[in-house]
């Protein structure tokens, strides 16, 4: 990993002096210690800055860049980047920058919401499995294994194919598709989190402080929420970060296949879908949304790597 901790002493090096040295170091609180480790990962820090910039841009960009996203101007169609249209225009003469700023809100929030769904389901299933053991545990873990071996994209396409119309009529074209995509993407990604939480519970439930809480008569629910979950937080945050990136890719893929958001909601994947047939005459139209997806996903992945170094030093992958 770039910029991460250099190899510590190898096996043959003396253990005692290392321990003595560790004792000499000033003590940090866990949060500060994690921040110190995260900061050492240069690419992760740079990525955090870039991602923050992108979030600010899509949040406030449309307020500053006040060109409407659906102003059709055939006179200026398929223009390359100009001062009036810094990212060029599409086949209807609409401003690509305005569309990307607006669509980015959806692309990024789909990623975030899908991650929250995945994390919520994962923590729930993991906690349930970890606390109940026995048959319930076995069934839930079998289910997790099963979901891991489901072909995600085909299933995603199948669900969207079958439920699209019903949700559209219930929540409107935007809301319906948004809810569906978030739930389906999230619902297919809870398994790693569930496993992490369960493993953490199994290893922690016999530890003294949980024993103590149990002796004091804390309810199971309380034990999990107060004592076990905070300990599982590090790995879950790392898994969740990676999930955001995966969800952004999943949404973009759906939209790119023409099966995600409708054309009037220009998510990055959707813009790319519209642009792909004009690759020869207007490559800029495809490059900007593609680069936006790539940059967002890359920086989230790097942040995930940095967080892993900071919060979950045991795991390598």
């Amino acid at each position: 990993m770039p910029g991460s901790t250099p190899a510590s002493l190898s096996a043959e090096a003396p253990a005692v002096p290392a321990a003595a040295a560790a004792a000499k170091k000033p003590r940090f609180s866990p949060g500060l210690e994690a921040w110190r480790r995260f900061r050492r990962h240069k690419l992760a820090v740079a990525s955090a800055v870039i991602l923050l910039g992108m979030i600010l841009a899509v949040a406030f960009g449309p307020l500053v860049w006040r060109v409407p996203i659906n102003e059709i101007d055939f006179a200026a169609k398929l223009e390359g980047p100009t001062l009036a249209h810094p990212f060029g225009t599409d086949d209807l003469g609409q401003d690509v920058l305005a569309r990307l700023l607006y669509g980015g809100r959806i692309s990024l929030s789909v990623g975030l919401c899908a991650m929250l769904v995945a994390a919520f389901v994962g923590v729930l299933v993991g906690a349930l499995a970890g606390m109940s053991r026995g048959t319930v545990d076995a069934i839930l873990m079998w289910l997790a294994d099963l979901f891991l071996s489901l072909p995600q994209l085909p299933l995603l396409l199948l669900v969207i194919y079958l439920f699209r119309d019903a949700l559209k009529s219930a929540f409107g074209p935007e809301g319906g598709v948004f809810i569906m995509i978030v739930i389906v993407i999230g619902g297919l990604r809870w398994m790693p989190v569930a496993r992490l939480v369960r493993a953490q519970i199994l290893s922690l439930r016999e530890k003294e402080f949980v024993e103590a809480a149990r002796a004091l008569g804390a309810s199971k629910m309380r034990q999990v929420v107060r004592h076990i979950l905070p300990n599982a937080l590090g790995p879950v945050i790392v898994a969740g970060t990676i999930d955001v990136a995966a969800a952004i890719i999943a949404e973009s893929t759906l939209s790119f296949l023409g099966l995600g958001f409708p054309p009037d909601i220009p998510t990055w994947g959707r813009v790319l879908f519209d642009a792909k047939d004009y690759l020869d005459i207007a490559p800029h139209w495809a490059m900007f949304p593609g680069a936006a997806i790539f940059l967002a996903v890359l920086s989230i992945n790097f942040i995930g790597d940095g967080l892993r170094d900071a919060l979950d030093p045991r795991r390598v992958l």
Binding site: Q152, L158, V159, L257, L279
Partner: protein
């Protein structure tokens, strides 16, 4: 490798197949407006066909019995009829499957050939310049969505350089070497898109597996034998590092299939991935179900292959 282990793995594959079919059928059953029923009430379909469909799917039976019906039909190879392509679904899928498998297989091969040496070299020189470059490139590789890489390659090799065709043709009339050349030329970009994406994550898997093995005691033992660093790395490090890599690659298969669907769609390769998309767009439900089921079976199959490879690579397995 013990026979018991193999049989056990085979037996475990059956409930997962059943589970997957159950998930698929539940999705179908939960869908508003019975998708098969729609067909049966579609005025474009002759009434006798509609009646036959109603009877076959037992539309008025309870859900579980319909599931069993559907399942037995699937296992008997009776996957329904595609009204769009005017042929049986299983025939249609079997026609398209080889193309998909060849593209995926070639891409996996490319991924392994590229990623294995890079991962091993990076891990044996941890934190060196080479390692950092390889690692950064790997991150870029799996952060680039396949649909974007596909477009980039088309832009570069087809539009700017005009070296490679960007539409895959299955009706190439040339023969002999010329045919081979044309086939290779049109396969380069799809295989590269899929292979490099897969290779990028493989580099990380290999690197971390090798890093785990390098510090083990038996590697020091091997080094003390005086057999040379090359043999130490190849025989003792890489050989054992492959064991966890196999499992990780198997876990990646669902993602690889997703990439294959996108790739087939971009380059218009006539495989089952592009078939799935076109069937969805054409509301061809039996084909959609069939292809999804085939993808599920392929994932189970690859997991099984991984289990066998794992047992073959690790003699301790036989005794677990």
């Amino acid at each position: 490798m013990s026979r018991q282990y193999l049989i056990r793995r085979l037996l475990i594959a059956i409930p997962s197949l059943l589970g997957i079919s159950l998930v698929l059928y539940s999705v179908l059953a939960l869908a508003p407006g019975d998708p098969f029923g729609e067909l049966a009430t579609n005025p474009a379909i002759p009434p006798e066909v509609a009646a036959a469909l109603r009877a076959k799917f037992g539309l008025d039976d309870p859900v579980w019995s319909r599931y069993l019906h559907w399942l037995t039909a699937m296992f008997q190879g009776d996957w329904g009829f595609s009204f769009v392509s005017r042929m049986n679904v299983d025939t249609l899928i079997l026609q398209r499957l080889p193309t998909t498998l060849i593209v995926i297989g070639a891409a996996q091969l490319l991924a392994i050939v590229v990623a294995l040496p890079i991962g091993v070299l990076a891990a044996t020189r941890p934190y060196s310049v080479f390692d950092q470059i390889a690692n950064t490139l790997a991150f870029i590789g799996f952060s680039l969505p396949t649909f974007f890489t596909g477009l980039l390659l088309i832009l570069l090799f087809s539009i700017k350089l005009d070296w490679l065709p960007f539409v895959f043709r299955d009706d190439i009339t040339a023969t002999g070497l010329q045919w081979l050349w044309e086939e290779t030329k049109q396969s380069i970009m799809p295989v590269m898109v899929l292979g490099l994406f897969q290779g990028a994550s493989l580099v990380r898997f290999v690197r971390s597996a090798v890093l785990d093995v390098v510090r083990l005691d038996y590697v020091t033992t091997a080094r003390s034998k005086g057999i040379g660093e090359r043999k130490v790395v190849v025989r003792h490090v890489v050989r054992t590092a492959l064991i966890p890599v196999v499992t990780l690659v198997a876990l990646q298969m669902p993602i690889v299939f997703g990439g294959a669907i996108v790739t087939e769609q971009i380059f218009r390769i006539p495989g089952i991935g592009s078939l799935l998309i076109s069937s969805i767009l054409a509301n061809d439900t039996p084909v959609v179900m069939g292809v999804t089921f085939v993808f599920a079976c392929l994932v189970v199959l690859f997991n099984l292959i991984a289990d066998f490879l794992y047992a073959w690579l690790d003699p301790r397995i036989a005794f677990r």
